[in-house]
Subunit: 145 residues, 4 copies
């Protein structure tokens, strides 16, 4: 099995539903030996990182700001870009698959970049954009790993 | 009257409807003494630049590539970024108002960035994103200039 | 005569010598019908912008931050990049000629980008880098416009 | 011991002297449990990545282009930025220490960014820039890890 880099994208804050979903997605990415990439901050990003990290996975945080301490505690490798939301394009270019969990306009920009690059995007209660494959349970990502 | 920088965003190719609409939008931006910013390439970007340029307006092209010759012939100032589609965030940050005309996922990323920054986005036959103000005629932009 | 985009690069603060030199360089760029590009902030950038602006010239500021109000008062077009010092590469890609006036490490990165791209760099009391053409008076730039 | 992210910066091509030096530096970074970050391409970047990878280390390649296959074979995590040489600022922001080995203007821009951020830069037969600490043997980096 070859390791893939899988993106989890979503908002800086997350309700319990989104947090739990993201955690399980992160866990599944780790359980299947893949690497998680995300924006490195809180909310959905933190939940997915926690799920991966607590299950032996490896996590990359593509941080928008200037300090590695901005990263949530579950990031293995903080990449400090300093380019703010322009870093969304780097997440899209680096991943092989993206899972979007809810999220606002920042998440929408990441979805758009991923689809523009022809990457598969799975979505849970997120934007209604043509090309997203809607999922209802974390386990559904397994078919795409 | 203070000059504003107004973005026109849309695809690299455009049918006659979109081309004509973009041309008229560019013309109105120029007629009202404002500055046009766009991605600097063809299609909707070219049409809007042409409409502005042929009516005494000033146009900025935020180019994704490495050569100023990538700019359409109606660009007054080609900004050569070399950062590919990450330049979409620069268009969004620089403009005070954006008009989206049709467009695919690249345009969607620009819409998302604009809305994330709280900028007003007017849309003509473009993505159905909450927050976009739909317009049907170029003249409707005048209320927002 | 074809308009060129000419960069003036240098520090955010400037002593009287550097300020005066930058002002005269900006004036000469304007007097010769060319466009000034710079980082848009204070010091050498402001002096050159002032010199161009007060003599009928046109000035572009490639701002590192998030607000157009960061621009010095002599910037005609503030480009709001939000990508911090990564914007230094955009200045280098966009200009056809660069004049470096003193400056610290930020200026050095711009010099390096310009030389990497094969752009001519004129330098006044700046870093000692192979490839820079040293000048002692503002008028010396005229031979390169 | 806490893992640090250490940058090795240098040219896309390398003579035997630079290649061997970079390999040993990469090996030392790995031997001491740290993580290597570099531009991900050939020459000095490849040599350092090989030295780290063949000795159990972990390597991050901050790629300028659009394809992860641009990475040299010793990169553990290819970050695909698509922002060309603007990615040099990301290497500088992410590392805690940089070792410059020879290199041309691209390397000079990375040195400048690192010094601008207050990062320690060790240099082997590289640019003569104030602030670089000159080293003659790979082992000398150990004092800074």
């Amino acid at each position: 099995m070859k390791k893939k880099i899988i993106a989890v994208i979503g908002g800086k804050s997350a309700n319990q539903d989104y947090y739990d979903f993201a955690y399980q997605v992160g866990k599944l990415i780790a359980d299947n030996g893949h690497i998680l990439i995300c924006g490195g901050l809180g909310g959905v990003m933190e939940a997915a990182s926690k799920g991966a990290s607590e299950n032996g996975g490896f996590t990359i945080g593509i941080l928008p700001g200037f300090e590695k301490k901005d990263a949530n505690p579950y990031i293995s490798i903080p990449i400090v870009t300093g380019i703010s939301t322009a870093r969304n394009s780097i997440i899209a270019r680096t991943c092989e698959l993206a899972i979007a969990i809810n999220g606002s306009y920042g998440t929408l920009s990441e979805i758009a970049y991923c689809l523009d690059l022809g990457k598969t995007v799975l979505g849970y209660k997120t934007h209604d954009v043509k090309g997203i494959i809607s999922i209802n349970k974390p386990e559904e990502i397994k078919a795409y790993l």
